[in-house]
């Protein structure tokens, strides 16, 4: 049997829901999310790991979904941009993006937001430099970088203010 015609079952959690897809071994996580699960928030900007538009979280860490095989996601927990909005309510990073006008065409935006989520999980109050470095893999051809950084800094500052032992 050729590799192409073989399919594997992948069970994983996507945005908190148990999902199963049957995919060929070469199918990327990005294709599985977009084509099989119809979660088109993560974008394909390059397909080869150079632009960050496909960034999602796998077990809480940012991953380029175009470089990960769907079968590698078996048994793991995947979060996409669609999972951030709960009952139509945007999460604080999404709201900060709107307030700071941190996007133009918006095509890179889901990837930017998920990359930033990944950073914030690891480091809730990153410095400006940490933010710049964490987002260096996410291309924005419209050039919303400064606004993305400003939105991220605002979130970081709020997190810092909320840290135990610090004055609110």
């Amino acid at each position: 049997m050729s590799l192409e015609s073989r399919t594997d079952s992948v069970t994983f959690t996507v945005n908190g829901r148990a999902e199963e897809v049957r995919v060929s071994p070469r199918r990327t996580l990005l294709a599985a999310l977009r084509e099989d699960l119809h979660l088109t928030g993560a974008k394909e900007g390059c397909g080869v790991g150079t632009c960050g538009a496909c960034t999602v979280l796998v077990d809480g860490r940012p991953v380029l979904a175009c470089l990960m095989l769907a079968v590698q996601a078996h048994g793991r927990s995947v979060e996409t941009i669609e999972g951030l909005t709960r009952d139509g309510v945007l999460d604080p990073v999404q709201r900060a993006f709107i307030e700071h006008d941190a996007f133009q065409c918006g095509f890179c935006t889901p990837g930017q937001i998920m990359a930033l989520q990944g950073l914030l999980r690891r480091q809730p109050d990153p410095s400006a430099e940490e933010i710049r470095r964490a987002l260096d893999g996410n291309v924005c051809r419209c050039g919303a970088y400064l606004r993305i950084q400003a939105a991220a800094l605002e979130i970081a500052r709020t997190a810092e203010a909320r840290r135990p032992g610090r004055p609110a």
Partner: protein, 766 residues
């Protein structure tokens, strides 16, 4: 009364005359004294929620039932003829439904009749050879490798010089120069140079630069019977509709084109691509929807580029700084097909007051990928040459370069010999100089600095551009019985915030909160609007939206008058409430009035009025860059860019600042990093994506200060606005080049300003 008027329409740096229908009288301009409540305020984008949540559906996100996927086989040769084509193995591959090529596709003229949709003669590395349609994108791509093609390589020309050489290989039978050299002259340039006390002469070269919009080019198409629906990542839905209908020989009303969300274009998506037509042919044959999206590698080879330029400029001035002569020659490498030249000479002709000007531009064809408009085509390149020469000449004369510019301030359009509708460039100069601390600028070292360490410098660039907009553009509005309002207009939201600005304009007229107004666009079922390019979306569409809303407002006043039993003239509309003048308690809300009128009784239609006669409408602006140059490595770091533009009334300062930053960042990329590389021997493309083509990333972005003159144009259109999309990219590379020269005394006018070029200019490269 409708009338036909002949309009001089300035678009992308070129002027053309067109007849347009003007349906009646325009509204009076929102002038400088008008107090506006919503227009001019920082309204967050109305489609922000869609874009940050992943809800926005871009072309590649559309997935109609039964969707098939396509992939493109491209020419590996810059110039070749297909001698053998065998797709048998590919056609038998798993999942493959169809292979289209010159062997079986209808012969459809393309590139203004210079080629065919599938042409057996290939004129650039990347030219379309065949398209595979399969069940999955991976299957389609796999099958490309199974197509057997034999090519007979043909002689090729790749560079401007090679194309212009005597007995050069011809790209097209008519010759390698598009339409002959474009010449312009006023005064007597030789006499001007004889009068001059100082002259400078320099070359300026800019490379091929790629748009690389994050969403690649592509379409999803679907037939139902003999009607075709196209979802396209485009800046011009009506243009795509016209081209698709013509190519397929079907009536216009059988084609519907939609582009509700699109991921950037920057000029590269101004019309239909071959991909749309090919997808439509395949879809018709297979009876299934087809998606053809470019890969990033396709995008690098066949999605257009800002064409490489080679320029030469000579300026002469008197001791007091009066410019007396400008002599400019530019050449642009259009690639294989594009039939619109680069308006490289625009800035040299018009930016400065000068009695003696001569310009010549040649646009040449080569066996390289076709160029496309790219944010202020020609003007970004031309401004590098002009503004570098201006600062060099000012330094030579010992005059501050800003002072030099002010002494040569052009009060009128010297090319067409008429006034500007408005020009507030002085304000822009003043504000950038103050904000950037221009007075700190020391004259450039007379000779290149050979020492060690780092040096800082300041440089300026000035911008002139169109952005007037023009008719025709139409809009419709209806006021719903619950007091919400809807606008329909066949324009595009390409990331510029057009949707938000249009909502603000309508909300202003009806005194409604912006969130009560929704804007639907990106659909040829809506009223006609022009392409979203040339910085004209708001200036063309905004006035029509205002007029449509104004018609609704008048109906609303009439309705309120009858309900409130008063004369329509006595009804006032303020903050969403209609009341009788002088009796504020005798009133009702917009929703209450609308609700009484039955379902959708209140609707309005608006059109874009004519541009004023006898004036030239231009945007202006100035930018100052501050850079630090490492004299040991040649590396240039941009520390800060201060920008101020005269774009008339600013509709939304928040979105305005985003536009400025985006333009500056693209200009910065072009100044320091970006260069699309073609192998000089084979003509093949060497950079196939973001790994090898250096678009600016998060860590290299300097501080950007976005200021606005924000004075309404008194006559340009009923909003007092001018366009803002292109202006901010124009002066940035020039300002950075000038700052590097100011820091080091070494002038690099060949972009990108790489460390090697800086070291070379410093005499430190062995």
């Amino acid at each position: 009364m409708p009338r036909i008027v002949r309009q001089k329409i300035e678009f992308e740096g070129r002027i053309e005359e067109r007849d347009v229908v003007i349906e009646g009288d325009d509204l009076p301009v929102w002038g400088a004294t008008e107090t506006l409540a919503i227009v001019g305020t920082r309204v967050p984008r109305v489609d922000g929620g869609d874009r940050v949540s992943g809800r926005a559906r871009y072309t590649a996100d559309l997935d109609p039932p039964g969707l098939l996927h396509a992939a493109v086989l491209r020419s590996p040769h810059a110039h070749a003829r297909i001698t053998k084509f065998d797709a048998d193995a590919a056609e038998r591959a798993p999942g493959v439904r169809l292979v289209l090529s010159a062997a079986n596709a209808p012969r459809i003229p393309w590139y203004n009749g210079k080629s065919w949709l599938f042409d057996p003669e290939l004129r650039y590395a990347g030219d379309e050879v065949a398209v595979v349609v399969a069940d999955t994108a991976a299957q389609a791509r796999d099958a490309l490798d199974l197509i057997e093609v034999e090519y007979e390589p043909l002689p090729q020309v790749l560079t401007i010089d090679a194309a212009l050489a005597p007995n050069a290989v011809l790209v097209h039978a008519e010759g390698n120069v598009l339409g002959g050299p474009e010449q312009y002259e006023r005064g007597d340039v030789e006499a001007g140079f004889r009068e001059a006390d100082a002259t400078v002469e320099m070359h300026a070269d800019t490379p091929d630069v790629l748009h690389h919009s994050m969403e690649t080019h592509g379409s999803v198409v679907h037939w139902s019977g003999d009607r075709l629906t196209v979802w396209d990542s485009t800046q011009h839905i009506f243009g795509v509709r016209r081209q698709v209908a013509a190519a397929l020989k079907i009536p216009l009303d059988h084609v519907r084109v939609m582009s509700p969300f699109m991921g950037g274009g920057f000029g590269s998506k101004n019309g239909a691509g071959k991909y749309t037509i090919i997808a439509a042919l395949a879809s018709r044959q297979l009876g299934r929807p087809v998606r053809l999206m470019f890969t990033r590698a396709d995008e690098s080879q066949a999605a257009g580029k800002r064409p490489q330029s080679a320029q030469q400029i000579r300026l002469g001035a008197k001791r007091d700084g009066t410019l007396v002569a400008i002599d400019y020659r530019g050449a642009s490498n259009l690639g294989a097909y594009r039939a619109i030249g680069s308006p490289l000479a625009g800035p040299a002709k018009e930016l400065y007051a000068c009695p003696n000007v001569r310009t010549e531009v040649v646009n040449v064809f080569t066996h390289t990928a076709p160029c496309a408009a790219f944010r202020a085509p020609g003007f970004v390149e031309g401004t590098v040459a002009l503004e570098a020469a201006v600062e060099a000449l000012a330094d030579k004369l010992g005059i501050d370069p800003l002072e030099f510019r002010l002494r040569n301030y052009a009060e009128t359009d010297q090319v067409l010999g008429r006034p500007y509708s408005s020009k507030f460039l002085r304000d822009a100069y003043e504000r950038v100089a103050k904000a950037a601390g221009w007075e700190r600028r020391a004259p450039a070292p007379a000779t290149a600095v050979a020492g060690h360490g780092r040096r800082r410098g300041l440089g300026m660039g000035t911008q002139i551009w169109g952005g007037a907009g023009s008719p025709p553009a139409y809009a419709e509005m209806r006021l719903n019985p619950d007091g919400t309002a809807e606008i329909r207009i066949g324009t595009q939201e390409i990331g510029t915030g057009a949707k938000t600005a249009l909502a603000q304009i309508a909300a202003e007229v009806l005194t409604l909160p912006v969130d009560r107004v929704s804007v639907s666009l990106g659909d040829t079922d809506f009223p006609y609007a022009p392409l979203s390019a040339g910085s004209q979306t708001i200036t063309s569409c905004g006035p029509a939206v205002r007029m449509a809303a104004d018609e609704v407002r008048r109906h609303l006043l009439d309705a309120a008058a009858s309900v409130l039993e008063a004369a329509p003239n006595d009804i006032r509309l303020e903050a969403g409430r209609l009341f009788v003048a002088g009796v504020p308690e005798r009133g009702m809300t917009v929703a209450e009035v609308a609700g009484r009128m039955g379902n959708f009784a209140l609707s309005g239609r608006g059109f874009r009025g004519a541009n004023p006669d006898g004036v030239t409408i231009r945007t202006f602006g100035a930018q100052i860059a501050e850079v630090e140059v490492d004299l040991d490595t040649g590396e240039v770091t941009v520390l800060r860019v201060v920008a101020c533009h005269d774009v008339g009334r600013v509709i939304n300062p928040l979105v305005y600042a985003s536009q400025i930053e985006g333009g500056v960042i693209q200009g910065l990329g072009m100044a320091l990093r970006e260069e699309h590389l073609t192998d000089p021997d084979t003509g093949t493309v060497l950079d196939l994506g973001f790994d090898s083509y250096a678009v600016p990333r998060s860590s290299v972005i300097p501080e950007i200060v976005a200021l606005a003159v924000d004075k309404p144009d008194p006559i340009a259109n009923n909003l007092g606005a001018k366009g803002v999309g292109e202006p901010p990219i124009i002066p940035t590379p020039a300002a950075i080049a000038n700052a590097v020269a100011n820091a080091t005394g070494a002038r690099v006018t060949s972009l990108p300003i790489t460390p090697a070029k800086v070291l070379g200019a410093l005499g430190r490269l062995r």
